[in-house]
């Protein structure tokens, strides 16, 4: 089973191509220009693994959270490839990926995972490690970026500060996740979307306008 994975949740786009025997992680600074470079990045990955696109039987989508534009560009690209080729698409969010990475380092119990967001906020999820399932349903929220008030260990995904330890999602863990059986149905493909933090800014603004009107 050969796969291509793309995580475009930040301008440092992460890619990975893998076969049953080996995997090759990539990272590029796309300078907010992912859409025009995406096929070239995929060509680069395939060439490194000595594969052709027709050899790919699974796609992996980094669902974030993070840069909405980047996430959508990658999602539109990979969802279409999965549909056209009848291949499964495995959605991998940064929290789940990072949680498995921590668990592989023998971290257990209650933890908080955070990702920096705009306006001195962070996307936050509280989890129990190890995860019971390879993929779990998550509802990240916006919160302050610092450590958890209840004292549980807090980890910043690809980020750190004085009070928050750093965790970098591991390519080896991603490789394991990509080997996990992914749902192949059309319905499952339609559900493979960026991990949005609800409500959106537009909805927040609308609610504020309504409140003012009342």
């Amino acid at each position: 089973m050969n796969y291509i994975f793309i995580d475009a949740s930040s301008t440092e786009v992460v890619g990975q191509v893998g076969t049953a025997r080996e995997f090759f992680p990539f990272q590029w600074n796309t300078e907010r220009n992912l859409a025009s470079r995406l096929t070239r990045l995929c060509d680069e990955m395939l060439e490194r693994a000595d594969l052709r696109i027709s050899d790919i039987s699974r796609f992996g989508l980094g669902t974030g959270p993070g840069s909405l534009t980047g996430l959508r560009v990658a999602a539109a690209f990979l969802r279409t490839l999965a549909l056209a080729t009848g291949s499964p698409l495995t959605p991998v969010d940064l929290f789940t990926w990072s949680a498995h990475t921590l668990a592989s380092s023998d971290v257990t119990g209650s933890v908080r995972l955070t990702i920096p967001a705009l306006l001195n906020q962070a996307f936050v999820v509280d989890l129990e490690l190890p995860l019971e399932m390879p993929f779990v349903s998550l509802s990240p929220r916006l919160d302050l970026p610092g450590p958890a008030a209840d004292g549980r260990p807090t980890y910043g995904i690809r980020s750190e500060n004085r009070d928050v330890a750093r965790v970098d999602p591991s390519p080896a863990i991603l490789h394991d996740l990509m080997q996990t059986a992914a749902p192949t149905s059309y319905e499952a493909l339609l559900k493979a979307l960026p991990l949005y933090v609800v409500p959106s800014q537009a909805e927040i603004n609308l609610e504020k306008r309504r409140s003012r009107a009342v």
Partner: protein, 336 residues
């Protein structure tokens, strides 16, 4: 040759399959009007999310209606601008996936050029040049001279509001709802177009337009007349003012360029009083008048596929490197 068209420049997701640029095999549009009504206008972030959700089901349905599989597609035409950047990127990335996977030619299409192509698609004939093109929609008022599939000279454009935007704002003022164009046309059906004297902005002052003064004139009228204001008469008078202005400008452009053909397109080209006034001018002056049926005036991917087919030979770059561009002017190089 089958061209897959993909359009996502604003709030309509659309996919179409068109044979030889002039025969529509399938054409589907997923409108987001109801989604954006609660916001009072199109929210780009919300529109982007909806495009992503709608694209694959539309693609599946369009292929099913046309009775073909992915491997039957010969080339892909996709809107690369102008429009909202987030929504454009969803369509562009979808097109690139297919073009890259199947090694298919991909033609980046200018949305305004595609609107003009809709008029030829409707007649099942390839474009004939030169012609004067008038694109009037919610975001645009452009008057151009067309001398080739991608050879456009802009003669004039609006300095402020587009006519569709004018209709939206006036409809909101009059409590007629969104989108404004159809609501104003419906109300104006029983109105007197000569009841209120509204300005015909910038007549005799070049090829440019300005519609914000008309909006202000209706606003003043609304304040002056109060409860006595006849909404149907305002709607009829406003449409007459817009039609007079556009007809006069188009007529002047035809005279100056010696073109014998006028193509009118865009969402506002569906407006019945405008269509009738423009047709009357063209008949009087011996001008061939092409305008798409109302269903092809609003955003759709069939026109994108048609323009892609007509302009395929002009692609002189690696289209997989093309980026979306919110302000891509007609007739200018592909955005990289």
């Amino acid at each position: 040759m089958i061209t897959l068209g993909i359009e996502s420049s604003c709030d309509d997701t659309s996919v179409a399959l068109v044979e030889d640029g002039i025969r529509v095999m399938s054409s589907l549009v997923s409108s987001q009007v109801e989604v954006h009504q609660r916001f009072g206008g199109v929210v780009p972030e919300v529109a982007s999310r909806k495009h992503l959700e709608a694209m694959l089901p539309l693609l599946q349905q369009a292929l099913g209606i046309a009775g073909v599989e992915f491997d039957a597609i010969d080339q892909i035409a996709v809107t690369a601008g102008p429009g909202l950047l987030g929504p454009l990127l969803v369509g562009l990335s979808t097109a690139k996936a297919l073009a890259w996977r199947y090694r298919l030619p991909m033609i980046p299409v200018n949305h305004l050029e595609a609107h003009l192509a809709a008029a030829f698609l409707a007649t099942h004939k390839h474009p004939r040049f030169p012609y004067v093109g008038l694109i009037v929609s919610g975001g645009h008022a452009n008057l151009v001279l067309a001398e080739g599939p991608r050879a456009f000279t802009t003669l004039g454009r609006t300095a402020d509001d587009a006519p569709g935007e004018l209709f939206d704002k006036v409809a909101r003022l009059l409590g007629l709802g969104y989108p404004g164009g159809p609501a104003i046309q419906k109300s104006g059906l029983i109105g007197d177009p000569k009841r209120y004297k509204l300005p015909r902005p910038m007549l005799g002052k070049g090829h440019g337009f300005s519609f914000s003064g008309l909006k202000t004139a209706v606003l003043h009228l609304h304040e002056q007349e109060g409860d006595q204001l006849s909404v149907p008469d305002v709607c009829a008078s406003l449409q007459a003012a817009v039609a007079d202005t556009l007809v006069s400008k188009a007529s002047a452009a035809l005279s100056e360029t010696n073109a014998k053909r006028l193509v009118m397109a865009g969402g506002v080209a569906a407006n019945k009083p405008l269509r009738e006034a423009m047709a009357a001018m063209c008949e009087r002056d011996g001008i061939e008048f092409l305008v798409p049926p109302p269903a092809l005036c609003t955003d759709n991917a069939a026109m994108t596929a048609a323009q892609g087919f007509f302009s395929a030979a002009s692609v002189d770059i690696d289209p997989l490197l093309v980026n979306a561009r919110a302000d891509w002017p007609m007739g200018t190089p592909f955005p990289l």
